[in-house]
Symmetry: C3
Amino acid sequence: MINVNVLYFLDLLGTAAFAASGALAGVQRRMDLLGVVVLGLVTAVGGGTIRDVLLGTLPPFCFKDENYLYLSIVVALLIFYFHHSLDFLHRPLLYFDALGLGTFLVIGTGKALAYHHGFLVAVMMGVMTATAGGVVRDVLSDQVPFILQKEIYATACIFGGILYYILYRLGVNESLTAVIAALFVVIIRVIAIHRHWSLPVAKID
Amino acid sequence: MINVNVLYFLDLLGTAAFAASGALAGVQRRMDLLGVVVLGLVTAVGGGTIRDVLLGTLPPFCFKDENYLYLSIVVALLIFYFHHSLDFLHRPLLYFDALGLGTFLVIGTGKALAYHHGFLVAVMMGVMTATAGGVVRDVLSDQVPFILQKEIYATACIFGGILYYILYRLGVNESLTAVIAALFVVIIRVIAIHRHWSLPVAKID
Amino acid sequence: MINVNVLYFLDLLGTAAFAASGALAGVQRRMDLLGVVVLGLVTAVGGGTIRDVLLGTLPPFCFKDENYLYLSIVVALLIFYFHHSLDFLHRPLLYFDALGLGTFLVIGTGKALAYHHGFLVAVMMGVMTATAGGVVRDVLSDQVPFILQKEIYATACIFGGILYYILYRLGVNESLTAVIAALFVVIIRVIAIHRHWSLPVAKID
């Protein structure tokens, strides 16, 4: 089935997609070169870093393996200098982003369970790994975070995390658990992109 | 005097009140279901979590006892679906919030002192436990944090923390210290609500 | 050459300058007394604190030596009450701020290398020590962080960090390395102030 190398490859692919989305947000906000790189970095590795801070597994993953940092910086630089010629990437990026979402969720939930945390913490760590980088990106861009406002984005992660937990408790093989939960998130997310699903908003009058 | 169970009960009551205030902020900002739950959670457990990160006592309290998380989520869901019928709770919520403020302050200052920190750190950890969740709530809602702008809110905590430290140094029984400092914060806060007290603002021209 | 006392003195001088810049931002945003003190504190010790959280060296430096906290609070109080009479400090403050930038960079990069981190982490920890407090200040003031938008500020730190790393790898004496890298940052920064240098912004149309 899945092995560590495949998961690492998917992780890097997701990291690159998240770095691209962060860098693009910086370009759109007319930030300078450094701002674009910072937003790319924060979006790509921010979620996993916050997870590691909360789990107390410090220093965070990207300090131990600097490839995540180098990759994010290179992607952000490419976006900064060539974003005009990269329009054809817009659609593929959405799918890579969905792939990153599923991979990050699985890594976060798996890590929390490996440290013997309970159900809710496991799901939250998965969701946070997948979405907290984007939240920091939006806070730094002085906007209400995207995931607090629209679309089935974090929601796909929540259900993916619950699915992971159930399979884990049922004793399903760890690799299979990861594949199923990640695919679940990716599929929900892709359908949501196509159908423009969103969550209900509370009525105030 | 006070015992651990009473403090735990007050802690949960304060957690619920803080979760309600966070969730209400989300409803008012027209966030979706997930946004409301996230704001409720962050407001309720954010202060204690940041305290535990800074003290290095990781994972944070709410990872070891998930009741805080379940309670915050349930309260946020109730606010999301029933906030129209909960108007009668507006006034009681302010008082529960004051109770939470006093309880959180006492827990934070007490924990810092148990880890042998100095005066200023002890007071700051108390104030942070009581108010940092609200600061994160406001940052995520894209607003200048409430406590940086108005009302005797954190100020009541600061003086409560100083009082706690003095009683602690005088060798007063720990439970009694906690009760007195918490009551002090609650009373100041309740008077401030009634009298609309606020701090001076620097004059610029 | 440089010794620990000189570095400690420069560190406190930089802390005071950063606290002043944070407190002034609070005054300009019409915050109350507490808000001004919080912004001063966060700007002065926020960068080093976030560095210590990420390196896992908790509790952070300013919890172990409360002088940083007392100094920041006193400076913020002075700014709050006397900012009208302190106009003559505007120019000197810019230079003290540059000094703080160089000192904080050197402390952060040096600490990361002492913990055996790689090149990129060492540079990032230096830059973060010098600039993250300002980022938090701007987020709390509900603004897009200054360093993401304009001027050679963090950029001077990045090149200072790279210089530090190279000298360190070449086996240059640690004190000399610190002096050279810090001076480099200060000089670049002072020139940037005089010439109004800024980084390129990505073109969008």
